[in-house]
């Protein structure tokens, strides 16, 4: 039996009193992941919301050792920490880097790719709130098409981001690492299972976790989870995992809802024209089709090499 909500301990290794905005999805994700990982864990966070709301001198919400160096080197620092622990004979300690989407899809990509190539024995968690939130909502490579941010404003000529979301999980999958998965704040069972699986494996493990952000996405604080559910039900977010490259979609919506049902809950998409919504729907349909084909192909590839 895999882990479920009711198996989680009562104690928080990421405590209350932290200063995330009310309704922050990332806070939910991190708090619960720590319940699975347990005390024998050390954490690295680069510059991002989590760094600030989880530790601002003199206060710290982490109850496990925790480290911060710079924005671009999550994977490199986690690597160093893991190797140092190994040297000290503490091989069983889990080392986790928690980075945002800006710190992963953009500025952290180089160190991340290198650590994946070397198959370092670390867990890398990308909590994806689809923009640089800590510095006031700038677009990242992970910001979806059409979204308003302060650097992709919605005006008469340009209406939000004109480029599409970068698929980071697939990039890491192409590195042939032991474990790659996507998860979401809205699917507890699915996320806990994946974190537990990652914890019990060796080598490079990567999780990209959908983390709604009421402040940056302009949505009421109480629908953080509902939005995450609609993201998956509409196909905007695919939940999958890949053990040794064998990709499997872990939650298939019975019938995908129109992407419009997802967009209309959030201020960041409010300006979108029908044409833009059509373009985004088309992108989602293609992505879903591609993800489904990839799943089949990667399974087949595996059988043929056995």
């Amino acid at each position: 039996m895999s882990i479920g909500i009711k198996d989680l301990p009562e104690e928080n290794l990421f405590t209350a009193g932290h200063t995330a905005c009310a309704g922050c999805g990332a806070a939910i994700v991190v708090r619960n992941i720590m319940k699975v990982l347990g005390e024998n864990t050390v954490i690295y966070t680069p510059a991002n919301c989590l760094l600030v709301f989880g530790a601002t001198y003199p206060h710290i919400a982490w109850k496990v050792p925790y480290h911060h160096v710079a924005f671009e080197n999550t994977a490199a620092c986690a690597t160093g920490m893991k190797r140092a622990l190994n040297t000290l004979g503490k091989e069983d300690t889990t080392v986790v880097g928690f980075a945002g989407d800006g710190g992963t899809a953009d500025i952290g990509m180089q160190a991340l790719s290198a650590a994946a190539e070397r198959n370092e024995d670390i867990i890398y968690v990308m909590y994806d709130n689809e923009a640089y939130m800590n510095t006031g909502i700038q677009r990242s490579g992970s910001t979806p098409y059409g979204a308003w941010t302060t650097t992709t404003p919605a005006g008469k000529v340009i209406k939000g981001k004109e480029l599409f979301k970068k698929d980071v999980a697939q990039i890491i999958l192409a590195h042939n690492v032991p474990y790659v998965a996507t998860a979401s704040v809205g699917y507890p069972q699915d996320m806990l299972k994946k974190v537990e699986k990652a914890k019990n494996m060796k080598g490079f493990r990567f999780l990209q976790i959908y983390s709604s952000c009421p402040t940056g996405w302009r949505h009421p604080t109480d629908i953080t989870v509902e939005i995450a559910n609609k993201a998956v039900e509409s196909g905007m977010w695919t939940l999958f995992e890949a053990v040794d490259g064998r990709m499997e979609i872990t939650h298939r919506p019975k019938e995908r809802i129109p992407v419009q049902d997802y967009l209309k809950l959030q201020g960041r998409f409010r300006h979108m024209s029908e044409e833009q919504i059509r373009i985004l729907q088309n992108w989602v349909d293609k992505k879903w089709d591609r993800d489904s084909r990839l799943e089949k192909a990667l399974k087949m590839l595996d059988e043929s090499t056995d």
Binding site: C21, A22, C24, I60, A61, P214, T221, V225
Partner: protein, 302 residues
């Protein structure tokens, strides 16, 4: 020269107020600058903004440490922040509160003015956004700028950002607040804030590896888990009310609460049943628990 420090919470529009005040002073022929405190402020967390006004060009680029005037947009801050820190003797502090100036203990050699800016904003704007009303109170209490100038400032800054119609409404709110501002007569009360211990260790005083060392200081806890000292319950506008009769102990709210301030507890009326308890010291009132509860056992109330 006069310098103003605004205290607000992230999302209350302290920066816009500071800008509108600068614009107001500019319209009266002064030089003026406005700027926020640089930091990573989250919604609801205490923030600062500053305005500096002079008849000459302004070369001072620092934050304002010794203000002539202080503006407080939210009276729940009075317990957490030393709002009159550095306020010059004879300086004025303008507070958005329902209380009378005499009820506030903010210091002896200063003047206190209060206004129910939230009440005004609810009446005039239909929303509890107080960054315009408080400027009317500022004009009245300090006399540093005229009410006419405040209106110009609001039309300039608010008009640009949110449109002329809404800016006009905000002018009306400022005027109403101007009329309702009360200044203290009688001796201001001794400051109570200073009686609380201040934060002590500075980075140099911490032991090496200080972030990993749990330590009790006379100002409180530091090290792992010490954020527990930061009671975030003050951020809340809506409060979750629980009916444990309806709770089925699914633990969804317990899982989804971003603060982790919900615990599963034996339910009093029925010892064999579990219910939830919410630690209001930390609950920020996001409403996720109420929204996710499958049996509607939680309701958000004002």
């Amino acid at each position: 020269m006069f310098e103003v420090r605004f205290h607000g919470r992230g999302g209350q529009g302290a920066v816009m107020a500071a800008q509108a005040l600068a614009s107001a002073a500019f319209s009266e022929g002064n030089y003026a600058v406005a700027f926020p405190y640089f930091g990573a402020e989250r919604r609801g967390a205490p923030v600062l903004a500053f305005t500096r006004v002079d008849s000459k060009k302004i070369y001072r680029k620092t934050q304002v440490y010794e203000p002539d005037f202080v503006v407080v947009l939210d009276d729940s801050l009075l317990e957490m922040v030393d709002v009159t820190e550095g306020l010059k003797d004879g300086g004025v502090v303008v507070v958005n509160t329902r209380k009378k100036p005499e009820e506030l203990a903010l210091g002896e050699n200063i003047k206190v003015a209060t206004v129910d800016a939230t009440g005004v904003a609810l009446e005039v704007l239909g929303q509890p956004i107080t960054n315009s009303s408080i400027l009317g109170a500022f004009a009245k209490a300090t006399g540093a700028v005229s009410m006419d100038a405040i209106e110009k400032g609001i039309m300039d800054i608010f008009g640009n950002k949110i449109g002329m119609k809404i800016a006009e409404k905000n002018c009306r709110a400022a005027k109403a607040a101007y009329d309702r501002t009360i200044s203290a007569d009688g001796r201001p009360r001794e400051k109570e804030f200073e009686k609380k211990p201040k934060w002590l260790p500075d980075v140099k005083e911490l032991p090496i590896g200080g972030a990993g060392v749990k330590m009790e200081t006379n100002a409180g806890m530091i090290g792992p888990g010490s954020f527990l000292e930061n009671k975030t319950g003050g951020w809340r506008t809506f409060m979750p009310i629980v009916e444990n009769d309806k709770c089925v102990a699914c633990q969804l709210c317990w899982y989804f609460c971003p603060e982790g301030c919900i615990t599963m507890v034996p339910y009093d009326n029925n010892r064999f049943k579990k219910g939830i308890a919410i630690d209001l010291d930390y609950c920020k009132g996001c409403g996720i628990c109420a929204h996710e509860c499958p049996t509607h056992a939680i309701e958000m109330k004002r």
